[in-house]
Symmetry: C2
Subunit: 318 residues, 2 copies
């Protein structure tokens, strides 16, 4: 039935482009050995919504809502952004600042490149005024419609809308929690056995670090790692879901920096596969050298750290 729906959409999409486009389409079918038809369909399916760019191609970090006098601490103030991004931006593509976290959005894959948070004991403390059940998953209209993911992309995909900035990390205000439900902060995650289990264990562990460090900085995001196949060659392969082809990452990373009261910095780096993981697997199994994540992600994390301050990596003195 899904397949039938897809075919219908493709047909409608093609028809909408009129006879000229149809002519090209027929011509392409003749040459379907060259541009495989299924790929052509996937490409053309998007012609459902023709039209030209409405948005500027890149926006600087801006608050999602306009601050008012009473409400200023609920938006991404420049000072809060500076606090969160104290150790540098991993990249500057499609950066969005929300009330309590900052991200860079991957418009090709419709998931974030990275999401940056700053946690303290206070920001994660239990707060009766914040009700997670009031939060709603929703697209961020500051992203051009071509590149947004939608709730419909995730529906019946078999994947959770997995938070990169965890809702439980942002409990000072209802709006802080609400903002983590923007779909720009999501990536498709295996639910049972990963998002709701071992990945959540890692998120919980990250929060416990606020007992050790007055300031905890966290950068979280997806990876698309190659595998060697039987032909001896390496391939990157990942599923895409929904009409918007939202990428299902093969792995997720989390880089954590704890800042001690005497300004020493301690770093931990984790990579977990986006699959069912046994609950008794220790988190340390997933520790990796931070630079291996940088190479795989194409990003530089905590670039502005003074190396003299960095005293530990993955529990080992450096």
């Amino acid at each position: 039935m899904n397949k039938h729906l897809l075919t219908t959409l493709v047909a409608v999409g093609s028809a909408a482009f009129g006879s000229y486009h149809y002519g090209i389409y027929k011509e392409r079918q003749k040459h379907s050995d060259i541009l495989p038809l299924k790929q052509a369909e996937l490409l053309h399916k998007h012609s459902q919504k023709p039209g030209f760019p409405l948005f500027a191609s890149v926006s600087a970090a801006v608050p999602a809502t306009t601050p008012t006098a009473q409400d200023v601490n609920l938006t991404a103030t420049p000072s809060r952004v500076s606090e969160i991004m104290k150790f540098g931006f991993p990249s500057l593509d499609s950066v969005r600042s929300y009330s309590d976290f900052v991200l860079s959005y991957d418009r090709r894959n419709r998931v974030p490149y990275w999401v940056f948070e700053h946690l303290t004991a206070e920001s994660i403390a239990k707060n009766e005024a914040v009700d997670r059940s009031k939060c709603e998953f929703r697209p961020d209209d500051s992203i051009h419609p071509y590149f947004q993911s939608q709730n419909s992309d995730y529906r019946r995909s078999g994947f959770d809308r997995g938070h990169m900035a965890a809702a439980g990390n942002h409990k000072r205000h209802q709006k802080h929690c609400d903002d983590t439900f923007y779909l720009t902060n999501m990536a498709p995650q295996v639910g049972q056995g990963f998002n709701r289990d071992s990945w959540e264990r890692l998120e919980y562990y990250t929060r416990t670090l606020t007992k050790t460090y007055p300031n905890v900085y966290v950068c979280t995001g997806p990876l698309y790692l190659p595998r060697q196949e039987d032909d001896g060659k390496k391939y990157v392969k990942y599923q895409v879901i929904g009409n918007n082809n939202v990428a299902v990452p093969t792995h997720f990373y989390k880089i954590i920096v704890g800042e001690t009261s005497d300004n020493r910095l301690e770093m931990e780096a984790y990579v977990m596969p986006n699959q069912v993981i046994s609950d008794d697997t220790p988190l340390t199994v997933f520790q990796v050298p931070p630079e291996s994540v940088e190479r795989a992600a194409g990003l530089l994390f905590f670039d502005r750290i003074n190396k003299k301050q960095l005293t530990k990596i993955n529990g080992k003195k450096v």
Copy 2:
């Protein structure tokens, strides 16, 4: 033998990380059902060169060399960049300006996101002073070493180092031609039957447009298109080559805008699969709606065009 070399490098890489990392590595092997060992190796292989970021994470558009008084027209002057990028930047990630073209570099895939050129009859005219055989493929050291592609990645891969900004488009000075040989301007292309044949036909066709239009603007880059597999799900799959895992795109796009002497703009958009294509396939077969490329690439092309000026798309009046 290649395989043997790879294994050796992995072993050396692991050893270099010392006994602590070795401990984690052994632990990981026990849990190899969770993080498949081959993936773990691919991730850890990069630990050959441990160390922290040396470069700023993002550079603004800067000339690759410092201009001198005599040499200023051989570098990317602000006015030349403005000319090339007249109709807007498709994105702003890792932008590099060379003497006669501008690109944005995909640090995760080690190939460009997009490469922008401005062609005129003069810039492509035969010039005895420019000798292509003197040009050498070389990495651009303004890209952090973690994210560079190297000649060794392409060697024995079976793929050509395919120019995005074609060498034949930049004949005013030897340096203009030289610059097109930076590996930042390359992506792995099937050689015989594609790069040296049908793709070159498209490049040649683009140059002929300078007879029709006083100004021709060209944006070229890679695509990674999903295919539906037998399980009914859509997957993106592409090979990666060399130690740096340089992505082999599934397709390439070229968006061309011709500006007439009375300021009308005419656009053509092409997508070709990175595979052997019969020489008698007409180029029009590969024409696609421009917005389908925008959606697939995650980019907005010619965003600053005044829609009233745009009078034709793919030969059809709009």
